[in-house]
Symmetry: C2
Subunit: 303 residues, 2 copies
């Protein structure tokens, strides 16, 4: 029933990001197959008009574009090249679009393995959050062979507001993403440290937010995360443990290349401490709760 | 010759910021007297149409508004209450506008001393840089008695694009400024760490700038300082030693209130290391040169 000129896109990983991306792909008129370990996620895909698959392999069968939206390099590698992986079922010349945040070396290794299977590969870490995933307004920091971009174009067009094409081989996109994550992680931790200190000093935190937002101390993350603290809303838009992972990759990269990353290392420890205190799955603005809690300083409370 | 309804404004400290502010005050039609230890600064003031004074006391004599634009609390205190200080020469009810970045406790102490002399006081740390000083577009994080604001209004109107009125007593403005400086200092150091790591990874730094600017890793400081690195231009718009000082105040405040400020402490050490390496008077983006130099990583070079 599928029109021959309509690309079949498979997407594996239907969490909040993957589901949003599936929605954007469907809205663009693409034929979307998906797989996730969660039955609920599969039902949601069906309700959107997509086709739930019974396994990674079934999702991959005959797909022209295969998108992975999982947490890290290990999960991506299992999905692509594990015993029941996608690589054996994808048709020759299909393109893999890998969206996990990972070390550049991992991205290069996955691209090389894809090539051995006759598959194209795009190293395509993204940012933008779940809201922008669903509206097709993600930002991708992507690199890969021009043939891979050409093949993936219908899906990338549907998902991206901004597609940064950063080079012709995997690893470059991931390196840009890790530089971004270094800054993002340090800025979240700094926002939390600054707001907790402001609370310790007895300042009006709403005013702190209003003033800093228009001052030289502002950051994208300050503007985005501090409202969570003001609202005492720590439901995870992005969890503490994500930055334990991402800053871990950054500091591993620094060690591997013998380059110092002191702020990334300290910010990672702040996320680790917050996770150790039981808030690993809460919103990453919880670093402020951790710091305030050390000193019995009161932050805004819910309700 | 001065019209009786024209406020006489005195300004002490005619460095780049103070000279810019004098220009903005003159442009607003105010009568401006100034003092600085630099003869050149005084000549420049005369060329702008202001009146160079022979001493702090001569500048203060009869002035309705007395603005101090110096580096720290100690210099401000000397100017106001030293042996040849302004307080003894200012008319009762004159208002002091103190613009130095300082600890809130220092601001409160200076306000109390001013009150003993029958003087009003505004705790008015600012931001915006020398360009915005000259065009009257500074931002002030100010607190003080409403009578003080009323008295200082002609000068504040002339100098400020944004006047944040944060409370009715000194100390609050300074506390907001220190929270801002915590963030600003950490963000500069993070921008330098990220760009130096990107160079180590062999990324195109102009692309890094273009991509991060529109991504979640952006900050006001990243956007403002990274061009200095790209242009290899380390002429000081704001010097490394300014953040040695300001983050020193932040960490002192943390210690005094028994509140942890780990990122501010580490960022301060990065500025200290950069200063120790001989770059204390260079632009604060020099932290990138310090980190890159440790690992013989090349950053853009001049010309």
């Amino acid at each position: 029933m599928t029109a021959p000129d309509r690309s079949t896109v498979a997407i594996v990983g239907l969490g909040a990001m993957g589901s949003g991306m599936a929605r954007a792909l469907l809205a663009a008129g693409l034929d979307v197959r998906g797989f996730d370990l969660s039955r609920t996620a599969l039902d949601n895909l069906a309700a959107l008009g997509g086709h739930p698959a019974g396994s990674v392999g079934d999702a991959a069968q005959g797909a022209a574009i295969f998108i992975t939206v999982v947490v890290n390099a290990r999960q991506t590698e299992d999905i692509l090249f594990g015993p029941e992986g996608a690589a054996a079922r994808l048709p020759p010349g299909a393109v893999i679009v890998s969206c996990a945040t990972m070390a550049p070396d991992d991205a290069r290794r996955l691209e090389a393995r894809a090539r051995e299977h006759g598959l194209l590969y795009i190293d395509a870490p993204m940012s933008g959050g779940t809201g922008r995933a669903a509206t097709g307004e993600l930002s991708f920091m992507a690199s890969g062979h021009p043939d891979a971009f050409a093949k993936a174009e219908p899906a990338l067009d549907a998902m991206a507001a901004t597609l940064h094409r950063l080079g012709d081989e995997a690893g470059i996109g991931s390196a840009f993403k890790m530089v971004n994550q270094l800054l993002a992680g340090v800025h979240i931790a700094a926002a939390c440290e600054a707001v907790a200190l402001a609370a310790r000093l007895g300042l009006d935190l709403q005013k702190v937010y209003d003033v800093i937002r228009v001052s030289a101390g502002n950051s994208w993350m300050f503007e985005n995360r501090v409202p969570h603290i003001l609202d005492a809303d720590y439901a995870p838009r992005s969890a503490v443990d994500i930055f334990v992972k991402d800053l871990g990759i950054v500091t591993d990269m620094g060690r591997a290349t013998c380059f110092p990353t002191p702020l990334a290392a300290l910010a990672m420890q702040m996320f680790v401490m917050t996770s150790a205190a039981g808030m690993g799955r809460d919103d990453d603005a919880s670093v402020a709760r951790f710091l305030a809690g050390l000193a019995a300083v009161e932050l805004p409370s819910a309700g």
